[in-house]
């Protein structure tokens, strides 16, 4: 779903989240694609500014939950009713009410796995290395900095992009490049 990742990025730091969101929106209106924002906490209006479609995590969660539900019911019925039916205290072999707790728990568990792995998958995590980490200043992105990255073909002059970003209020602009999966 992500735009093609290029090899170089122009990174621009903004002073406040609002400035970042504004800059992103304007850059996108200017036609820049594949941009990304970086912030220590979610930006209000950030997703809209980047023009991201609704997240698919809920669907993955639903899928996981349903898988858990079916798995649990099938597992319990097969094991206790079909494969080795035993007279347990005179209870019916198919004691569906007794299957409920595990069915519920497995649904939750599978849904949670769906969410977690869905999150990782959609975010392409784990990703221990990223070229952006090459920039020492960029480290502030997770603590107090608000950054915007604009993809940029390697080797071309990035001055134009830089200028545009500075015009939008970037306090710091730099270019990083590297290999990215």
């Amino acid at each position: 779903m992500e735009a093609k990742v290029l090899d170089s990025w122009v990174l621009a730091e903004f002073a406040t989240p609002d400035a970042l969101v504004d800059a992103t929106r304007q850059m996108r209106e200017k036609g820049f694609l594949g941009m990304d924002t970086y912030s220590p906490y979610p930006l209000h209006g950030g997703s809209e500014a980047l023009g991201l479609p609704p997240s698919r995590v809920p669907f993955i969660a639903l899928g996981g939950g349903l898988t858990g539900l079916v798995t649990a019911l099938a597992m319990q019925t097969w094991m206790n009713t079909v494969d080795y039916p035993l007279n347990i205290g005179g209870r019916p072999l198919l004691s569906l009410p007794a299957w409920v707790p595990i069915t519920f728990e497995l649904s939750v568990l599978f849904a949670a796995f769906g969410i977690f792995f869905g999150l990782l998958g959609l975010s392409r995590l784990p990703q221990p290395y990223h070229p952006a980490f090459e920039s020492e200043e960029f480290r502030s992105a997770s603590t107090h900095g608000f950054w915007l990255s604009v993809p940029h073909p390697t080797g071309q002059d990035a001055a134009d992009v830089k200028n545009q970003l500075t015009a939008l209020g970037a306090t710091h602009v730099t270019v990083v490049s590297g290999e990215n999966a």
Binding site: F117, G121, P126, A181
Partner: protein
């Protein structure tokens, strides 16, 4: 990179668990296919194979006792007092007999002590020796052929028909059900009825 680490995250535990499950089913754990050396080189190939001695000649309690019985030295000597009575192979047997010392055979088919297997009922209901013990007449040293796991027991107790054979072939090493499937099934049904087989899967059938 990210795909690889994600795949590892899922694959490593899956392989570990799968490997463990496979391992416990392997002969490493079940003790199958491991010929056991005995204090005396007794060869079933010769006795059961060449000489065609009926299993019950030596394992005489198999039809009336839970245990098939390990023959006492007297049983060995009942023949070997006459034949091969000077053979160096049998020195130990003679020594044991005259010293009145039992021969400490090594157990091959060793069920856990909480499993109460009864030979008499199985033999009485048409389960042949070879069904569980395999072609003993082809073994230089006896080895365990079946897994002897509980699920192996259960397989037969849930569907005993394929393991039944006519009473006269109980000890036969070579008997095989008719090749024709329908015929084999008909025979199995007939035997099942004749023997009045009630194979049970209640726990106390084997665990007491």
């Amino acid at each position: 990179m990210s795909r690889l680490s994600a795949a590892m995250l899922l694959a490593v535990p899956a392989i570990a668990i799968g490997g463990l499950l496979a391992y416990v089913r392997s002969p490493l754990v079940t003790n199958q296919a491991r010929p056991v050396e005995q204090p005396i080189e007794f060869d079933h190939r010769h006795h059961a194979g060449d000489e065609q001695i009926d299993c019950r000649y030596c394992h005489w309690t198999v039809e009336k006792s839970p245990s098939a019985g390990i023959p006492s030295t007297t049983v060995c000597m009942s023949c070997h007092a006459q034949v091969w009575n000077k053979s160096p192979y049998l020195t130990e047997v003679r020594k044991a007999f005259f010293a009145d010392q039992p021969i400490p055979w090594v157990r091959v088919h060793n069920l856990p002590d909480f499993v109460y297997f009864n030979h008499s009922i199985h033999v009485g209901k048409g389960v042949g020796c070879a069904t569980c013990h395999g072609r003993v007449d082809q073994m230089a040293a006896i080895e365990q052929v079946s897994t002897l796991t509980m699920s192996w027991c259960l397989d037969c107790h849930r569907d005993p028909k394929p393991s039944l054979r006519p009473a006269e072939f109980i000890t036969s090493m070579t008997w095989a059900p008719p090749a024709d499937k329908a015929e084999a099934a008909a025979l199995a049904d007939k035997l099942y009825k004749e023997y009045d087989v009630h194979s049970r899967t209640s726990c106390s059938t084997c665990h007491r």
